[in-house]
């Protein structure tokens, strides 16, 4: 019975049915399954399958995003249960992410945030048009390992530099790795402003994040 539920959770992730995933997670809790078991034997195997299918070209971004959304919905139910049991899941790292001040482009940043989250990172997505001081404060508050700065415009990519300078000023530049992204951004720019790396796309961003925290 419980084995069945876990298999169904995995299938619902792979099949892209987030509402079903959340409902099954609730049923699994009601049936007395441990939240860690639900995550490790139900949700995560599903995300791994989806990741593999994406890598081989069978799955596309909408599959990946909807699977991640199922994972997130289930986690919202499971996290309070983990807390009451004083259990934690091992995260790959903590990431603060957002689109810099003056730029209201959302899609690239959200894609990276979602996929990072699905890849085991704790993600704090600050949204778009984020003031520089908000980035600094959130990095301090969460003791983040990584800060992701998105800028889609040639006019706002310069703000990425300003955020890095603000981190230096707040004396926390050493404790956080900065990754930058956005259409006009490249390795040369990353080097020029003293970022720790840049990625061309969301999948590349996850690889970069894993490399930076390892």
């Amino acid at each position: 019975m419980s084995r069945d539920l876990l298999i169904q959770i995995t299938k619902s992730i792979v099949g892209g049915e987030p509402d079903v995933t959340a409902e099954l997670a609730r049923q699994a809790l009601d049936a007395g399954l441990e939240p860690l078991a639900i995550i490790n034997q139900g949700l995560t195997p599903g995300m791994n399958i989806v990741g593999d299918k994406f890598a081989t070209g069978e799955y596309f971004l909408p599959h990946l995003i909807i699977a991640a959304s199922g994972m997130q919905q289930a986690m919202e139910l499971l996290e309070p249960e983990l807390r009451t049991r004083q259990q934690t899941i091992e995260m790959a790292g903590t990431v603060v992410i957002g689109t810099v001040k003056g730029d209201i482009h959302e899609i690239g940043k959200s894609l990276v945030g979602t996929i990072l989250s699905a890849s085991g990172f704790q993600v704090y997505d600050l949204g778009v048009d984020v003031p520089t001081e908000t980035f600094v404060a959130k990095v301090k508050e969460t003791e983040a390992d990584l800060l992701g700065l998105s800028a889609l415009l040639t006019t706002t990519m310069t703000v990425q530099r300003e955020v890095i300078e603000a981190l230096v000023e707040a004396s926390i530049r050493e404790q956080v790795k900065v990754m930058i992204g956005g259409a006009p951004v490249n390795q040369e720019w990353s080097d020029a402003i003293g970022a720790d790396g840049c990625a061309e796309d969301a999948v590349g961003a996850v690889a970069l994040a894993k490399r930076l925290v390892s």
Partner: protein, 487 residues
């Protein structure tokens, strides 16, 4: 008869417009600009000050469509109307605001410098298939804060053709206007004979940034044409269906026309954009995708149905080198644009999405544009009867090459390409060095540049432009501008 592509049925056009109008009311558009919000509130739109969301009733948008001009001309520096924004006129300009140039020697992308853009402007002047200039790349040897106005400064020193440009800041728009007024010889002269259009880009979905909104309003109040570049990304920032993306595009452009006309009724503004499908593997906006071209042709058809001049970003490629993909994608988009009757087609020379400009691609694209323009000139009878007299005269003799009829018509019937296009024999091609299209294009670039004629502006005017630009540069810590390459 001119061949014409109507990609949407009349019924679908009407439904798209109706849904676009409804989106203006619910969910409305969000404008991060106080000027726009007060204009809209004064006109009777429902503005929520906190969220900056405005609900625009259809009658306000309809009124704006009434006052927006259905056509206008852009002038060259000799004062001639050379670009007609209206009806089904089709004109081409280079893709705008590249952040890299494809180095001719290494064929790798690198940051553009002053000399690169000057060379580019000169090249555009010499390419007969191109009707206008654009501020095609951002020079990296000046401070980022003057990136927009510096490229206009450079172009104004070397161009005759009108120019498509845009500002990156609210204050730099005024410096750019000052340059244009100087070149036109006064504000009234610039309004009467516009030489430049400013791109203004709403942010999907249904958002207006402070900067772009203000640029559009300032253009309107100063009678300078602006060009809407709405860019829904179908499946990411807009519905994935092509029709759904066009609905969103329609709402964004309607809101732009409305804000513009409220700022100044009768101000020239162009309907259009740079939409794309969203690549579901890479998460990129492919400009070479057939779906992207289809959205473009559809939004242009909607704009025409509303009586607006139109623009579209077409004729670009996602390829990273000037290769077969580069050619096939650029050709597909440019030919679709011509068939759709897009007034201002931006894209020539552009590759790697909208990131990179290439001199060599530009001259290859010129051949595509030549072919596209020939295509829409259509097939005509030319003589009456078409062929009876001539064919009966020759009977079964294959002697057409010797006929005056052939000499009279061949040059109009055929598009005659430059040496970029190889149509020689295999031996002939080998004799000329067995060159690839890229190598032939490189030769063509040099050949064209040798024919460049300096712009007509006076030394006094050059000095004035330099003073305006230097003043702006000094605010960003650059005392002296880089020297201009010799003419």
């Amino acid at each position: 008869m001119r061949p014409k592509l109507n990609i949407l049925s009349d019924e679908l056009v009407n439904q798209i417009i109706a849904e676009g109008m409804e989106l203006l009311m619910d969910p409305g558009v969000r404008a991060h600009n106080d000027d726009a919000l007060s204009l809209l509130a004064d006109a009777g739109a429902d503005v929520d000050a906190e969220s900056q969301v405005v609900r625009i009733p259809e009658h306000i948008a309809r009124q704006a469509l009434e006052t927006a001009p259905s056509e206008f001309y852009l002038y060259n520096l000799d004062g001639e109307p050379v670009v007609h924004c209206g009806d089904d006129s089709v004109q081409f300009d280079p893709g705008s605001t590249a952040i890299t140039i494809l180095d001719s020697e290494t064929q790798e992308q690198r940051p553009p410098l002053t000399a690169d853009f000057v060379k580019f402007v000169k090249l555009v002047e010499t390419i007969p298939q191109l009707d206008a200039q654009s501020t095609a790349m951002i020079c990296r040897d000046v401070p980022e804060g003057i990136g927009d106005l510096y490229r206009l400064y450079l172009a104004l020193n070397y161009m005759r053709k009108p120019i498509i440009t845009g500002a990156f800041r609210k204050d730099t728009w005024w410096t750019m206007k000052e340059m244009l007024v100087a070149v036109a010889g006064g504000e009234a002269e610039l309004a009467a004979r516009p030489i430049a259009v400013f791109d203004v880009c709403p942010s999907p979905p249904l958002l207006w940034s402070d900067l772009t909104c203000q640029n559009m309003i300032d253009c309107a109040r100063n009678n300078i044409p602006s060009e809407l570049v709405s860019m829904p990304l179908a499946g990411a920032t807009a519905p994935v269906t092509l029709a759904g993306a066009v609905v969103q595009h329609t709402a964004e452009c309607l809101s732009g026309v409305t804000i513009c006309q409220l700022a100044k009724a009768g101000a020239p503004i162009v309907w259009g954009g740079s939409p794309a499908i969203f690549d579901m593997r890479e998460g990129t906006p492919p400009m070479g995708a057939v779906g992207t071209w289809m959205i473009d042709c559809a939004h242009v058809q909607v704009g025409k149905a509303l009586g607006m001049p139109t623009n579209g970003y077409l004729g670009m490629s996602d390829a990273k080198v000037v290769d077969a993909q580069c050619g096939l994608e650029s050709a597909g988009g440019a030919i679709m644009a011509a068939l759709a009757g897009v007034n201002m087609v931006a894209g020539a020379g552009m590759m790697d999405f909208e990131s990179c400009q290439s001199y060599e691609k530009l001259v290859i694209d010129a051949e595509i544009i030549g072919m596209a323009k020939r295509l829409i000139a259509g097939i005509e009878a030319r003589e009456e009867p078409i062929a009876l007299t001539l064919v009966r005269k020759l009977g079964h003799r294959a002697d057409y090459l010797a006929q005056p009829h052939t000499l009279k018509w061949f040059n109009q019937e055929q598009y005659i390409p430059s040496a970029v296009i190889d149509r020689g024999s295999l031996d002939g091609w080998k004799r000329k060095g067995a060159k690839t299209a890229f190598e032939r294009a490189a030769d063509r670039v040099n050949e064209l540049l040798a024919t460049y004629q300096p712009s007509p502006i006076s030394d006094e005017l050059r000095t004035e432009l330099r003073a305006i630009t230097t003043k702006a540069a000094q605010q960003f810590g650059m005392d002296e501008l880089p020297p201009l390459p010799g003419d």
